[in-house]
């Protein structure tokens, strides 16, 4: 079988100022030190030293990864307002999956999911669009009845699989509306 290269490429370096890199390092160091103390459950001085050193090394690695441009993630704070809807979706979808399992096991019905494309504005290779792609993918995939198979940058679409066919969840609906505004030719409008 022919072996194909993965096609990985080195992204462009992020031109961060020294001050901003220090802020990034400090933020990672503080968060990791907090997690360290959460896990060791003691505030002894020797644990403080060991935790500080471990957090410093890990924060340095995170800052280097950030500077290399491998992670471009700059979400908007207001996106967190979607969290209650996503949590509701998780509960509702668990019920849908239970129903599908009931139909499959008890009533011996044929249950098969559907795959479909949703128009989606791919955007650019910047932190804001990257965060939007990642969080839309996460929000759609965390609700059990649906997940994203693929994000197509050329076709500006999401390939989504849904086990129990039904209306799109609010995140997908919003992205579909955004795509309709950005690409009116999809609905037969002028380019």
């Amino acid at each position: 079988m022919e072996v194909r290269r993965s096609g990985l490429h080195r992204p462009d370096r992020v031109h961060e100022s020294g001050g901003r890199l220090v802020v990034i390092w400090c933020a990672w160091w503080a968060a990791l030190l907090f997690v360290w103390f959460l896990l060791v459950d003691t505030l002894r001085f020797d644990e403080l030293i060991v935790g500080s050193v471990a957090a410093a090394v890990a924060a340095a690695v995170a800052a280097v990864v950030h500077r290399r441009g491998y992670i471009r993630f700059s979400p908007r704070a207001r996106w967190i307002r979607q969290t209650p809807a996503v949590c509701r979706g998780i509960i509702i979808d668990c019920g849908k999956l239970a129903g599908a399992l009931w139909r499959r096991v008890v009533r011996r019905e044929h249950v098969e999911g559907v795959t479909f494309r949703v128009p989606f504005v791919y955007g650019g290779e910047n932190g804001r669009d990257g965060a939007r792609r990642a969080l839309v993918n996460f929000a759609v995939s965390i609700t059990p009845n649906s997940y994203v198979i693929d994000i197509d940058p050329e076709a500006d679409s999401l390939l989504v699989h849904m086990l129990v066919p039904g209306p799109l969840d609010p995140v997908l609906t919003r992205e579909q509306e955004r795509a309709a505004r950005a690409m009116p030719w999809l609905n037969g409008g002028d380019a």
Binding site: I90, C94, G113, I142, I149
Partner: protein
């Protein structure tokens, strides 16, 4: 039996029940795309209920926080793994490593 013990038992029964039902779902569903859906409740709801049972017993001690942390890690990992696995299958079918199902667009 105290109220907290009763709450713990209920949380354990429901949590374990959800896990076992999801295992049955993974077994009986038709293909990998359909099976993947049942990883969601197994990774999100089941562990969260078990972590809540641990926290009911241990409150916000180290044990309770670690159980909650493990449940949160599973919940965050689930959609990532579902997407990665589905994408792997899609690429295999697109590149003709496997035969695509007729219903795949």
């Amino acid at each position: 039996m105290s109220i907290s013990s009763a709450v713990v038992v209920v949380l354990l029964v429901v949590g374990v029940g959800i896990e076992l039902l999801c295992c049955i779902g993974v077994l009986v569903m038709k293909d990998a795309y359909d099976k993947l859906h049942y990883l969601g409740p197994a990774a999100i709801v089941g562990p969260l209920l078990v972590a809540c049972a641990v926290m009911t017993r241990e409150s916000l001690s180290q044990a309770g926080l670690k159980a909650l942390f493990a449940a949160v890690v599973l919940a965050i990992a689930s959609p990532v793994l579902s997407h990665a696995t589905a994408r792997a299958l899609y690429i295999r079918q697109r590149d003709h490593v496997d035969e695509p199902p007729s219903r795949l667009q």
